[in-house]
Structures are given as structure tokens and as C-alpha cells.
């Protein structure tokens, strides 16, 4: 093992899991506490999943919560592809290796920020959850919009935990909360909460309240919409971009993000969190 600063390779095992919504799993991986210590909200890990040597790539995954003391990384994984299905079917005690900590996470807003708007679409929810906790700890109030296609894909446990109505995840209650958090749920088909896209709800909220910062993670068209709403209201906006990734640490140049100034940045190393105004939206 080299002493140079940067990400490391470490073994992990799955500690627990449960299905949080349809084909959406809440899973907890245990690894070296020192690596978990380095994982800040909005960063990610690149996880090898055992069971199929013909699929060689790791899976880059965000997390909603970490516990450096126990070496825990808690994540919400949609079992949509071959690799994520294999990960979600691991049993406690099974595992492989992961790379961590990777990327640059959410940045603390400017001094004096009082209120934040956070917008999550689909599996963009975990890093947004982590952002809310980071901001609350600084005494910043958060309005969190969480959207999904339909009620059965909504991460309601996360929403409940954030809004303080949680009874399931017991460890959360031990956290001292600073800022207040209100969660607004939206579904594309209207089966639960606001009927429509998260951007519609975000626009309504921006019209009603003064926000000091906006943070968003989800499908790129949704983030482009949120970025536009924030720009029109002159609110600084951070976006967590998603790309197909290979290495996760800046070696292969496959996860490029086009910037407004014509340059190309690596999502894994320069991001995944960028200032919305830096990104070329098209």
C-alpha cells in the first residue's frame, strides 16, 4: 500500500440491506473506517461486485450516510442493471473490494446562508439526503424536493428521516439536528404528493421563498431545469452530474462533462459536483 494521499482500494462486506421501494434497495457496506472518514457528502465509491467475472467494471455509487466509527457506507441502489441487481442480491457477509474516497462533493454555501433548496430525482436522492444533513449541521434550513416516476419508486424512508418523522432508522435520532428540514414529494404520475416533475415544484418554491443556495442531483434534463430556475432567480446552484464511469479516479477520461467555457472536465475527479453555471446545458 502506497503512502501517497488519494483514494485507496479496500475490502468491503455487506452488513445489512432491505428493499426501500420497488427494486430500490437500502444497503450498507462495511469497509475501513479511515476511508469512510474521507468520504464527504456528494463524493462516491467505486464498488466491485462478485459473482460474474464476465462483467469486469466496478459500479460507481453515491451514499446518503456514512459512519466512520463503524466503517459504514449506506446507499440507495436501484437494481436496474445487471451489476446493480447482483449487488442488491448480496447477502450479509458477502462482498469484494471498493475504491474510496472518490470525487469532489457538495461545497458549503457562502457564509451567512440561511436557507437551501435541494432537488432530487430518482436515485439522485441519496447524495441530496447527505447534502441536507451537511447543511442542517451548519444550521441551514433545507427545503427538499424528492421526486420519482411513481409512488412505488419513492424513497419514503429517506423523506421521513429527513423531515424528522423517522422511526425506522434508529441511529438517525441520535444526530443532533441544527437547521430545520421540510420534505416535498413529487411523482410524475401523481400517484403520491405533487403531481408533476420536481422542477415544477421547485419553481413554485423559488417563487415563494428566498433561498441562498440550490443543490440538485438527478436525471440531466431535470438538473438542467433546476439550474435554469436557480439562474433566473440569481441563486447559486450546485449540480451532481452522472456519467458512465470506468476507473472513477481520473485515469481514463471516459466520464467527460462539457463545460460552458469550451473545456472538458472529468466527472469523477473534477466533480461529480459542479457549479451549474460552469456546465454546458444542451
Amino acid at each position: 500500500m502506497s503512502a501517497a494521499a488519494g483514494p485507496k482500494l479496500a475490502p468491503y462486506t455487506l452488513v445489512w440491506k432491505h428493499e426501500a421501494a420497488e427494486d430500490i434497495w437500502d444497503i450498507c457496506l462495511e469497509t475501513e473506517g479511515e476511508l469512510v472518514q474521507g468520504l464527504k457528502p456528494g463524493m462516491f465509491v467505486n464498488v466491485a461486485v462478485p459473482g460474474d467475472p464476465s462483467h469486469i467494471l466496478r459500479i460507481p455509487l453515491s451514499f446518503y450516510r456514512t459512519d466512520p466509527v463503524r466503517g459504514w457506507i449506506c446507499m440507495i441502489v436501484a437494481a436496474v442493471g445487471e451489476g446493480t441487481r447482483r449487488l442488491c442480491s448480496l447477502e450479509p457477509g458477502e462482498g469484494s473490494t471498493l475504491l474510496a474516497p472518490l470525487g469532489h462533493g457538495w461545497r458549503m454555501p457562502q457564509e451567512g446562508a440561511m436557507r437551501a433548496l435541494l432537488v432530487a430525482g430518482g436515485v439522485g436522492a441519496p447524495p441530496v439526503y447527505a447534502a441536507a444533513r451537511m447543511l442542517q449541521a451548519r444550521g441551514i434550513d433545507c427545503d427538499v424536493v424528492m421526486g420519482a416516476k411513481s409512488e412505488r419508486f419513492l424513497w419514503k424512508e429517506g423523506a421521513q428521516a429527513l423531515s424528522g418523522n423517522d422511526s425506522g432508522a434508529g441511529y438517525e435520532s441520535a444526530l443532533s439536528r441544527g437547521g430545520f428540514c421540510e420534505v416535498f414529494l413529487a411523482t410524475d404520475d401523481g400517484s403520491y404528493g405533487y403531481h408533476g416533475f420536481t422542477t415544477g415544484l421547485a419553481e413554485e418554491l423559488v417563487g415563494k421563498h428566498g433561498y441562498d443556495v440550490v443543490m440538485t442531483c438527478g436525471p440531466q434534463p431535470m438538473m438542467a431545469g433546476v439550474a435554469k430556475i436557480a439562474a433566473e432567480a440569481h441563486i447559486p446552484c450546485q449540480v451532481s452530474m452522472e456519467r458512465m464511469m470506468t476507473c472513477g479516479f481520473g485515469a481514463c477520461n471516459t466520464c467527460s462533462v462539457q463545460m460552458a467555457d469550451g473545456t472538458v472536465r472529468a466527472c469523477c475527479q473534477d466533480g461529480p459536483v459542479f457549479d451549474a453555471e460552469e456546465v454546458l446545458w444542451k
Binding site: 500500500m1 502506497s2 501517497a4 494521499a5 488519494g6 483514494p7 485507496k8 482500494l9 466491485a48 467475472p53 464476465s54 462483467h55 469486469i56 467494471l57 466496478r58 475504491l99 456519467r243 458512465m244 464511469m245 470506468t246 476507473c247 479516479f249 481520473g250 485515469a251 481514463c252 477520461n253 471516459t254 466520464c255 467527460s256 462533462v257 462539457q258 469550451g262 473545456t263 472538458v264
Partner: protein
């Protein structure tokens, strides 16, 4: 500590062992220093760099396939000046630590190759040699076409040869390797690197579109390994200059196959992106294999395939 003498001479690039990294799969070395001591390797090949910066291809640039990947990066690079500014000091230090640095030269035309090589000559004293990439499948008008025929490959090497006294390696496309190898050797190439990725297609059957941003992309990984071994074997029988074998090396035994087929050095590519400690693991596995064969000097196995 191994008992096997592992050092090799790749056309004037003096390597402490035969393990190198393939261009585009190893950043420029520094990204891997937190995982292992990169100076343990024989050499690294840096990402292809042109005289001026290139933006590369749009996303998506990657698709996973069975036992491999496809990429369409398109040689995104910061230009020679930007490359040296960012990595020059690190790479000079890496050379001092005992690991040779091979700089890869990219271009869309012979003049662009010359411009890039001249800049490298001026700004990159740390480079032990230059790998000329005449075979990238992911750029629109140069690359693959440049190295597509023996005549075209010869023209590139002939034009570049007077511009450096340092070793020139030519990276070959995965076709007609014996003829193209002979043409490069005749024009004064010091070594050959083969193979580059194999052009392929992957189609999304829901959208009827390519899974990457361009119709074709380069296939790499374990699925191309036997093809690469065969081509190294063909090239090794065609030329006397040494060969750097590349293609789907995941284990020490995969590396041993390349040596047996006639390669003097072996580059680890896609494996670096999956397992960041693949290259040093493959090196130690190769040493263990050589020991198990009773080999005293790794040269005993180069080209030793009995067929």
C-alpha cells in the same frame, strides 16, 4: 525478492522489468500513486498528446460488454505544453525512481505528428521514448487511416525519424500487423506496440442507436486477448525489433503468453481501470510464473512458444 533477472531493453527503453502500462488506461501515472508505488513498474505509457489541445468525443464514451469494454474517448488531451506543465515534474521524478516514461504522440496529419514530436523533444527530457499512435479508432480523419497500410505507416515513421534520436515505438492497429511491422522497421522504428483497441459497435436495441456517442468504438479487455497474442506472434516473426504486447492482460499468465509469443515487454491496459493495483500484481504473478518454470532470465521465455 525474485531470483529471476527481469530487466529488458525495449528498443532503447531500458526497463527494470517487462511490465508497462498501455496509453489511455493509466492517466499519467500520478493518479495511481495512492494505490501503489508506480516506480515498481518497468515503464508507463502516457496518454496520447498532440501539439495543441483536443476536446475528444462527446459523452457517452464508454460501454461495458461481455468480458471487456468499449471506449470512444477520442484522444482528449491538453496539448504538449499543458501536459508537461501538469505532469513534467512528476514524470521526471518517476524516471529518477527507476520507471521509464514513454510519451505517446498523437496527430491528425504527418505535420501534426511532427509538431507534437518537436515540442516533446524540446519540453520533455524525461521521456525515455516516444510511442507514435497511428491507430486510434476514435478520431475522425487521422489515426487509423494513418496507419492503415504499410505505405502510410512507413510515411509517418520516415517523416518523424529525423526529429528525434530517442527511441520511436509505433502503435499498430489490429490488422495486417506483419506487413505494417516490416514497413515501420524498415523506416527506423525502434520498437512496436500492438495491438490498439479493435473497432467495434454496440447498439442499444431500445433506442436503435449506438451505445456510444459515435457509431464505432474501440474494444478492449480480456475478450481481445487471444487476438492480440496471435498478432504479436505474427509481428514477432516478421521483424527483429522488439515488441510491446498489449491486449486484455488481466493476470501474470496473460503477460507470460505475450512473452512466449515474442513480446519483449507487456503493457497492462483495461485491467488498470478495473483494479488499480493490477499492474504490480501482474508483475509479481509473472515473476512467480517465471520462477515456477525454472527461468533465470526472463529473456529465456521471449519467443519461446513451440508451435
Amino acid at each position: 525478492m525474485t531470483k529471476v533477472k527481469m530487466d529488458v531493453d525495449l528498443g532503447g527503453v531500458h526497463m527494470q522489468n517487462p511490465i508497462c502500462t498501455a496509453s489511455g488506461t493509466f492517466g499519467n501515472g500520478r493518479q495511481f500513486e495512492s494505490f501503489f508505488d508506480v516506480s515498481e513498474l518497468g515503464a508507463i505509457t502516457c496518454k496520447g498528446v498532440a501539439a495543441e489541445p483536443w476536446a475528444g468525443n462527446p459523452a457517452p464514451r464508454l460501454a461495458e460488454i461481455t468480458s471487456g469494454i468499449m471506449n470512444s474517448v477520442g484522444l482528449q488531451n491538453p496539448g504538449v505544453r499543458g501536459f508537461v506543465e501538469e505532469y513534467g515534474e512528476y514524470l521526471a521524478g518517476l524516471d529518477e525512481r527507476g520507471c521509464r516514461v514513454i510519451c505517446q504522440v498523437a496527430g491528425h496529419s504527418i505535420q501534426e505528428y511532427i509538431d507534437a514530436l518537436d515540442l516533446f523533444e524540446e519540453l520533455a527530457p524525461f521521456a525515455a521514448g516516444f510511442e507514435i499512435n497511428i491507430s486510434c479508432p476514435n478520431i475522425a480523419c487521422g489515426g487509423a487511416a494513418m496507419g492503415a497500410t504499410p505505405e502510410a505507416a512507413a510515411e509517418v515513421v520516415r517523416a518523424l525519424r529525423p526529429h528525434t534520436k530517442r527511441p520511436i515505438l509505433v502503435k499498430l492497429a489490429p490488422h495486417d500487423v506483419a506487413d505494417i511491422a516490416r514497413a515501420c522497421e524498415a523506416e527506423g522504428a525502434d520498437a512496436l506496440t500492438l495491438i490498439n483497441t479493435i473497432p467495434g459497435m454496440a447498439i442499444d436495441v431500445r433506442t436503435y442507436r449506438s451505445r456510444l456517442s459515435r457509431p464505432m468504438a474501440g474494444v478492449s479487455g480480456p475478450c481481445i486477448h487471444p487476438i492480440a497474442v496471435r498478432m504479436v506472434w505474427e509481428a514477432a516473426h516478421a521483424v527483429k525489433i522488439p515488441i510491446n504486447g498489449v491486449g486484455g492482460v488481466m493476470t501474470g499468465e496473460d503477460a507470460a503468453e505475450f512473452l512466449l509469443a515474442g513480446a519483449t515487454a507487456v503493457s497492462v491496459g483495461t485491467a488498470n481501470l478495473v483494479d488499480p493495483v493490477a499492474a504490480p500484481r501482474i508483475l509479481s504473478e509473472l515473476e512467480a510464473w517465471a520462477e515456477s518454470q525454472g527461468v533465470k532470465d526472463i529473456h529465456e521465455v521471449i519467443g519461446a512458444c513451440r508451435c
